[in-house]
Symmetry: C2
Subunit: 327 residues, 2 copies
DNA sequence: TTGTAGGCGTTATCAT
DNA sequence: ATGATAACGCCTACAA
């Protein structure tokens, strides 16, 4: 292994000078800079991250924690985090919080012993306990979830997004719009979306109709069944996740209903799943990759508390269309 | 921050003793062990990973690198890696190799400066250059790709898996089976699968028919078009990725063909995508999560070179069935 | 502009 | 069984 002393010897200077050159600190002639640079190249020297971190009391590590590592939404945010981190010279450490954030403290602890520069939590709210184990030096930010004003967070305005989306369906002439919501455990994202839907429906004088799944694919067909039982003449279903939306598209067709001619379907999130059904799922897009990138920047800018809002966007694919005329 | 000296003072012993207790080395009475253990608990002491790594010249970090972080297949392997690593007390660092592995050396370099305990490469072959920048201490293993015998790898037997799958379709009475292959850049996985298909077809006296996509969803419809043009009486399509398989299921139905009554469709990998279409995609399953776990174990067992094979498995869902009788 | 020296928190060697 | 001490590789006052 090449150390800073090797380079120093090779270039005929002191370790301190090498350090200065490598870190771009002032204090050397351009001649020595060249000699050092060359020595570095020749020996293939790279500063040891551990030693550097130990000395500076800070590492260039960023943690990224998600409830489930293989989740489609989380993957996209992680991708953004990774890209931004790398661009800024940081590395990212991956962890899993578990569905109820139960593993988060353990990972935060580890991250702390690495003197991580910060942590982004995906789809998981920051708790006082997490804040405590993270210690005073390590900033936390949660993404894709609205987390009050107490801790930093980065998300779309879920209430408004659901409101806009419902208005869009109303604008297409739909009145009997069923909402397929997620379960209560992900309350922080579901509650505002439900409110948005409710508000739009009420304003339009339409009758709200709500059933719950658990945001995953398999939970949607039974919930759709309950929705159709309560109103067989439904002309639109608004699912609060793309997986549920995709399942609804498939299930409706299995039941002999055409999408979107008989029933329109709208999803939420704009994960890749939305494009894996036919007709492709119209959906409320969250800028997931971008959220990951922005989160990293906020983290490193000592992004202080408060909730930041990113813009949502409605993407029309093939699963939505004008309401079927009631004869 | 609590250091080992704080604990030592608190327990009335020397730092060396604390270290011994914490690391389970011999050399202390049970009385002092208890005092130290209690002091550790009271002060919430956790050894600093950086300092420890610096001293021991080894860190408990494992790298996991994938061509694209948000890829479904890679996500599942990563999930397995993360789980196994955590269980063994290791942390995982995430990186992106890029489609042609072009970024791999950079990440390997970083990992080396972290003195990582090893690196698992997903869907990326190890090259001599990578091996070089990884240095002599850091083991590498590639997963979900067959990598000759030169470097460690962990994958299914792609040739055999495709052979078995094709035989399965033949067994259902299909003779006109089109193969939807991936592009040439992922040659290491595609070539053997193509060979397996070809061998099964030839053995059965059937006529092979092959078109290429790029493994992603959007590439499948046009390729399917070409397949149908060359043989409109096709009764089965074997797609070498689930995304392409899902697209084929959707596209066939759009074209008015029933799945599986008119045409059977078989996918490959068993990612979540396979379950996001209707009928759900039958597919050749790779044990992705398991591969991630096993990779970690091999890495830490100083897993020497050579290709390790994990078993594949055919999963029948709704997209395959007996061949349509030719009247 | 450049070099010397001390210490970050830990483990390992050598005394006691 | 326990403690003092020296490194691991780096950065950064402080001196020169």
């Amino acid at each position: 292994m090449t150390t800073i002393r090797d380079v120093a010897r090779h270039a005929g200077v002191s370790p301190a000078t090498v350090s200065r050159v490598v870190n771009g600190m002032p204090g050397y002639s351009s001649a020595t800079r060249d000699r050092v640079t060359q020595a570095v190249a020749e020996l293939g020297y790279e500063p040891d991250t551990l030693a550097r971190g130990l000395k500076t009391m800070q590492s260039t590590m960023i943690g990224v924690l998600a409830p489930v590592v293989s989740d489609a939404l989380a993957s996209q945010v992680m991708s953004g985090v990774e890209r931004a981190a790398r661009e800024l010279g940081y590395s990212v450490m991956l962890g899993r919080t578990g569905p109820g954030s139960e593993f988060a403290p353990g990972y935060l602890h580890t991250l702390r012993t690495y003197r991580a520069a910060g942590v982004v939590l995906i789809s998981a709210a920051i708790t006082a306990d997490m804040r405590r184990v993270a210690g005073p030096k390590m900033p936390l930010i949660s993404v894709a979830i609205r987390d009050g004003k107490q801790f930093p967070s980065l998300a779309i305005d879920d209430e408004r997004a659901a409101y806009d989306a419902t208005r869009h369906l109303l604008g297409l002439g739909h009145e009997r719009i069923g909402l397929l919501a997620g379960d209560a455990t992900s309350l922080l994202v579901n509650a505002p979306r439900e409110r948005g839907y409710l508000r739009a429906m009420t304003e339009a004088g339409a009758t709200p109709l709500l059933e719950r799944g658990n945001s995953l694919y398999d939970s949607a067909p039974p919930a759709l069944g309950r929705l159709l039982e309560r109103d067989p003449a439904l002309t639109a279903v608004f699912a609060l996740s793309d997986e549920m939306g995709a399942a609804v598209v498939n299930e409706l067709q299995r039941l002999g209903r055409r999408v979107p001619d008989d029933v329109s379907v709208l999803g939420f999130d704009d994960t890749r799943t939305a494009q894996h059904v036919h007709p492709a799922l119209s959906t409320v897009a969250q800028p997931l990759e971008r959220m990951g990138e922005v989160a990293v920047h906020h983290l490193l800018d000592a992004g202080n508390g408060g909730a930041r809002i990113l813009p949502h966007r409605l993407i029309e694919r093939g699963s939505t269309g004008p309401a079927r005329r009631t004869p």
